[in-house]
């Protein structure tokens, strides 16, 4: 099996509430097709760094374009990939 779905984990600052999660996802969904990403999940634990974990799923031959993700997130709020 050559092409498989894998996930990439990004740490995003500024996303704390459910409202912020939904706003961030709406902005990401606008560009997902262009980025080759098909699914995203935020996990907001509130512990440690104060960042939220963003898990995106895509084919293993796709490299997540963090700059494009950041551009999309910036349209939704003060959100940014920090790791």
């Amino acid at each position: 099996m050559n092409e498989q779905i894998v996930s990439t984990r990004l740490q995003v600052s500024g996303v704390h509430t459910d409202k912020e999660v939904k706003l961030a996802l709406q902005a990401l969904y606008d560009v997902f097709a262009d980025l080759g990403i098909g699914q995203a999940t935020f996990e907001v634990t509130g512990a440690g760094t104060g960042t939220a974990s963003l898990f995106v799923k895509h084919l293993n031959n796709v490299t997540v374009d963090v700059d494009a993700v950041n551009q999309a997130l910036a349209k939704a709020g003060e959100f940014r990939v920090v790791a």
Binding site: Q4, I5, V6, D18, Q26, Y29, A33, L59
Partner: protein, 507 residues
């Protein structure tokens, strides 16, 4: 006060109630549509085949890489009920509203005929056609038909009201019902009559547009054509226009109050979504119990849908487990499913049995054509083959004493938790009647081939009387349980917990 026999109190009351409920129906319908703002006539909801869409988002045609949830749009609570990507609650509001709307409509129609007032609305002579044309010509010239045209309605009104009450409203009800999995799995011919799930969905949308257009025109004409008479008729049931000013104030205040009520419902819902879920599902479950729970699917014996109806494209929600989610599933996948196991168990007594795919293949197999529908609106028709859940669970022996449900969970994780906490395994709960249905199976083949990875390989649930959120993919375990309140957030499944869908997914 000169009481007008054409506008009795029951007519005023049902008219006002209809106004309140039709607004709730439209607003909750827009919430549902915003979840997948595309419409198809084809049987596979394939990207690029839409005949209408309300989004600029791209939907690639590549199957198994993108999910339909990424097409969900956000509507303001001022527009939709409740708004802000809450399709589960939007569906419940739609369900409650339609139950009350139909009840109000039945009361109205019964009284209309019982009192003889139907003769004021339903044309009884072909003369209505030329008279309606005369009125139309006057309106088209920005004129107003004289008061004598209205006895109490003019011919154009009679045709319009007859169409809306006796054709459009029933049409909306019938096409709405055609989107119920319980009805589809029991009466597939009925759904095919409407052009399948997508045909019914598109027709329902067109009817909504007509209804919304009628409302705009109807309300406009109330204020533009003989306003003084209309106001006293509607507010007081009176014919004396001396109270016009008072009636106008009451009417406008009522309209404002209703609009405030509509919006308040949205914010009440959003303020505590689980509370709204409890409230709404309590009432909508009454409708499901009366009208849908007794319907049993008959996929293996029905002849309406055949292999010729199989869809070319199949959407998915939730992509396959990754190595972080389930190393066991990944290892089995990479080893041609060697080592893949499903545990069937009894949580009440702590017994369990581990099955391999070969064990499952040894059991009696069933096969049928069925249409999968997601509560978002997409659908796809496939031939599903596998083992009836009853045969599978029989390997454990008789149903344990005290077992009231069957819980199925997945090697994959939920796509979202309601509070955005770390994801937990996807699961769902079936009641005993649903679990025992002939078309509730553990499927291991689709269209005669092993399942695709994104559609649940190597084994997934099929529960044909319900929407897709009850059909767990990449199944890990199936267990008898006493009460679903003890699992997850206690609402009976991942989509019930996170998206506030109903445990009963029959509509």
């Amino acid at each position: 006060m000169n009481t007008n026999p054409d506008f009795p109190f029951w007519l005023q009351a049902t008219h006002l109630i209809n106004f309140v409920l039709i607004g709730m129906l439209l607003r909750s319908g827009w919430e549902i549509l915003s979840s997948l703002p595309r419409l198809w006539w084809s049987n596979d909801s394939a990207p690029g085949k839409e005949w209408l869409r309300f989004t600029k988002r791209k939907l690639p045609k590549e199957e198994g890489v993108y999910t339909s949830l990424m097409d969900e749009k956000r509507l303001s609570p001022l527009i939709a009920l409740p708004g802000r990507e809450n399709i589960g609650l939007g569906r419940h509001w739609h369900g409650l509203s339609v139950m009350l709307w139909v009840l109000n409509g039945v009361v109205y129609v019964v009284l209309l005929f019982a009192t003889g007032l139907w003769q004021r609305i339903i044309p009884t002579s072909w003369d209505v056609i030329p008279k309606a044309w005369d009125s139309f010509v006057i309106y088209a010239g920005f004129g107003v038909p004289s008061l004598e045209h209205f006895q109490p309605y003019d011919a154009l009104q009679m045709l319009g009201y007859t169409f809306v009450i006796f054709i459009l409203a029933p049409f909306m009800i019938l096409t709405g019902l055609a989107m119920s999995p319980a009805i589809r799995s029991r009466y597939p011919w009925y759904v095919k009559f409407w052009g399948g799930h997508q045909g019914a969905r598109s027709l329902h949308f067109i009817a909504m547009v007509l209804m919304a257009g009628f409302i705009v025109m109807h309300v406009s004409l109330v204020f533009l054509v003989h306003r003084e008479q209309n106001v006293v008729h509607m507010v007081f049931g009176d014919v004396d226009t001396a109270r016009y000013a008072q009636g106008l104030v009451i009417m406008i205040a009522t309209i404002v109050a209703v609009i405030v009520f509509w919006i308040a419902l949205s914010y009440w819902t959003l303020a505590d979504r689980p509370r709204a879920h409890r409230f709404l599902v309590f009432f909508t479950e009454i409708g499901r119990k009366i009208f849908l729970n007794w319907m049993r699917p008959r996929g293996a014996v029905q002849t309406t849908y055949t292999d010729r109806d199989i869809s070319e494209f199949h959407w998915t929600n939730g992509l396959p487990p990754t190595s972080e989610e389930s190393p066991e599933w990944i290892a089995a996948r990479d080893n041609n499913w060697e080592g893949y196991t499903i545990t069937i168990g009894d949580d009440l007594n702590g017994t369990s049995k581990v099955l391999t795919l070969d064990d499952i293949r040894q059991l009696p197999q069933t096969s049928y054509i069925a249409t999968h529908t997601c509560m978002q609106g997409w659908s796809a028709t496939s031939r599903w083959s596998g083992v009836r859940l009853t045969d599978l669970m029989a390997l454990l022996g008789p149903k344990p004493e005290g077992a009231n449900y069957v819980l199925v969970d997945s090697y994959g994780l939920a796509q979202k938790m309601i509070d955005n906490r770390p994801r937990e395994p996807f699961y769902t709960v079936l009641d005993l009647q649903t679990a025992a249905e002939d078309d509730t199976i553990l499927a291991i083949e689709r269209n005669g081939e092993p399942l695709d990875l994104h559609l649940g390989a190597p084994a997934r649930m099929r529960v044909e009387s319900n929407h897709g959120y009850k059909m767990v993919k990449w199944v890990r375990s199936i267990r008898w349980i006493a009460d679903y309140a003890e699992y997850g957030d206690g609402r009976g499944g991942t989509r019930e917990d996170s998206a506030l869908q109903a445990l009963n997914g029959r509509i």
